[in-house]
Structure formats: C-alpha cells, structure tokens
Symmetry: C2
Subunit: 222 residues, 2 copies
C-alpha cells in the first residue's frame, strides 16, 4: 500500500500546457499495490492504461474493503470522477499507462472530432460496464457472479473465445470487486469446475469448456 503522488512520475508538467495539439502524453509505470490518491493531484489527469489493471478501492468504516470499478488496458480513467470520493486508485497488477493533463485532454477532445467521438464511445462503454456490474452485484448468487466476472474479463481483455482467459488478479481483489469473501469465491471456482463449465491451468488461466451453460448461469437463468 505504497502511497505515490503521480507528480513524481509526471515530469515537467509545463510541457503539456502549451498550445501544441500533437504533444504525446506522458508514459508512466507503477508497481503492483501502488495507490494513486486522487487528492494528491494538482493537475487532474486522465490515464490511458496500456498494461495491467487498475481498480478503485474503497474502505468502509470497520475495514470492509470493496473495489468498485476496474480499468483494463485500452480503457480510460478520468481522475475527476472521484474527486470527492473516499476511494483510491490502486494498481492491482503492475501497470503502465499514458497520462494526459485533464485540461489538455478536454481541449483535444473539443478540437479533434475523432478524439471526441472516441471519448464519447469510451465514456458510454465504461458506464455500460458499470451498469452491468451493478446488476451482477445486486441479485446474483456467488456462482453466477463468478461466471459473469469471467465473461467480463474475456470481453474487456478482448480474449478470443477459443483462448484461455488469464485472470491475473488475486482472489482477494476479485472477491472485493464481486462483493464476495475469498472463501466464497474459492467455493464458486470449485463449483464451476465441478459443473464442467470451466477448467483452469496452473497459472490460473481459465478456459470455458461449456460456454452456453456458463452464459446461462451468468444471465441468471435459474
């Protein structure tokens, strides 16, 4: 739980304030478990993740933890969405990302029609994912949650349906994201294997071996 101001990695922010519109964003790398605190930013940044996974981690008063949102490679995280949140952005894996200055990002977005439409599409996609996640959390059983999570990973990582899905997250992070305890999650894994819907190799890469059944389960067709 190392606390790091992103400014340490975002050298020479002045370089990004000028008028040039093709200035490349700054690249940065963060180790696993580094926490990026939104309040420690002077210039609110937008992160475009190139590898690894970020999550917004929240802590309840008595220590219960949750991860409300995940960010996979190719997805955008706008730090301004959590200004008044208690949540902190946490690197669930080693992460590399390119950083935009918030104002710079907005300007690009206004001035470049292509960039603008990509931005809108990205926003809508993230919101759609959030809505789906709420559905998963609200009413599904532990096994249904895990089935949904596996599909979510496959989609967001753009894994070919024939390929194995590397869930490189720790069990505890998956559990925090899906609103389960690790023990319950572990039992859900056992259940899916026992039902012959998935298999997993020694690297915890999941292969879906009965996709229709797993899909039904994820959709709550009880």
């Amino acid at each position: 739980m190392t606390q790091v101001s992103y400014l340490q990695d975002y050298q020479n922010p002045e370089r990004h304030i000028g008028k040039a519109r093709s200035r490349p964003p700054q690249f940065s790398a963060f180790e696993q478990d580094v926490e990026l605190d939104g309040n420690s930013f002077t210039s609110t940044p937008v992160l475009n993740i190139t590898s690894g996974v970020l999550g917004i981690r929240h802590m309840l008063g008595d220590g219960r933890q949750t991860i409300s949102m995940l960010f996979f490679p190719g997805e955008l995280l706008d730090f301004r969405c959590l200004l008044d949140t208690k949540g902190t952005v946490s690197c669930l894996l080693p992460v590399t990302a390119s950083l935009y200055d918030g104002d710079e990002y907005d300007r690009l977005q206004r001035e470049n029609a292509h960039f603008n439409s990509e931005h809108i599409a990205s926003n809508n996609r993230q919101y759609h994912i959030a809505a789906q996640h709420c559905v998963d959390l609200a009413r599904k059983s532990s096994v249904e949650k895990l089935a949904s999570f596996i599909f979510e990973c496959r989609n967001r990582l753009h894994v070919d349906p024939t390929q194995a899905i590397a869930l490189r997250l720790r069990r505890s992070d998956i559990a925090d994201y899906m609103g389960l305890r690790v023990e319950t999650l572990s039992r859900a894994f056992s259940k899916l294997k026992q039902l012959k819907m998935i298999t997993a190799n020694e690297n915890d890469e999941v292969t879906i071996i009965n996709e229709p059944a797993l899909r039904m389960l994820a959709n709550g067709a009880g």
Copy 2:
C-alpha cells in the same frame, strides 16, 4: 409496463438535424411505468430530466429484477450507454424531460465550451455515483444500504439537510435498486425508525433525526 417508442413523442426529428445551434431541445412527458426501449430509437437521444425519476431496469433469466442506475431531475441520460444492454429505461415516476438528438448534442458539446464542461462534469458525477452505488451493493448490510440510499436521495434531489426527504419511489423499486427484497427493505425501515435515526410521515417523507449516527451506519462503521 407500456412499451413506447420515443419517436411518438419526438415529433419532426428533421427539425433538429439542421445547422442552427440554438435549437431548443424537445420536451416530453412520460407516465409512470412507461418503458423506453433503447433499441426502438432511430436517432439515439440524450435525455435531460426535469422531473420524476428514470431507472435502467434489468431482468435476469429467471425473472429476478434489478434497477442498475437511477436518473434524477437535472441529470443526463445518454441512451447510447445501453446500446447492447438487455436493460430498458423505465419511468419509476411520471417523468418530464427534454430530449436532444445524440449527434446534435455532441455537436453542441464540441462547439460550446460551457456546454462541454457541463457535460464532462455531469459524466464524472454520474460515474462517481455509479461507483458509490457499487460500494453500497457489494458489502453493506440491508440497514446500511437503506441508510446510504437515503443520503443518496438527499444529495441527488438537493434536499436541504433540515428538510424531509421525499422517497417517492415504490418500495419495490428501491429494493431492486439496492439489491434487496421488499420484505428486507421494509424491515430495514423499521430498524432505522426503531434506532431513532429517521422518522417518516404519512406521505413516506423521511426526516433524518440523528444524522451523525445515520452517516456512521451508511459508512459501515460497524
């Protein structure tokens, strides 16, 4: 559960495609329980709600229902965020809203700096609310969920802290939103009253009578 194409209410869509930039958006009113299906739209609209409450309703395979997101007056609902979702937008109360054509909205947003910054702020706010909702769903007990919901309503309806909060939603809709059954929700209400944290009048308007305690509870300080 009346199914209505928004086109019935959005007369003369051609009028909105021209170049005039100050074209006022179209106003519409919908009755309670009207369902707006995203797939029935030809021109994807953006709704700015002026009164009432909208929700995105989802149905699992075996009939379990969820409401993943709510939209209160002053908030924007971009129908493009649920293009490939099974969810439908449902009027949880009688609703009035102004409708923008999606492309028109995007153009306004690109061309008008003020509109643009309002749009970004709105997006971030909605995303923040979604993240908080995930936290509420993932780990909180039924009573904590209700406490959180009361604060969420107060914030999103901009109710003065000294005033009563009108939760005009049906119990079943609140329950679907918070991932509870109506019976459990009802017991949570009883519990909060018994703990002398809230009172409610005959119109189901809630008054917070011990805000610090209710806040602690909502934050999970167990």
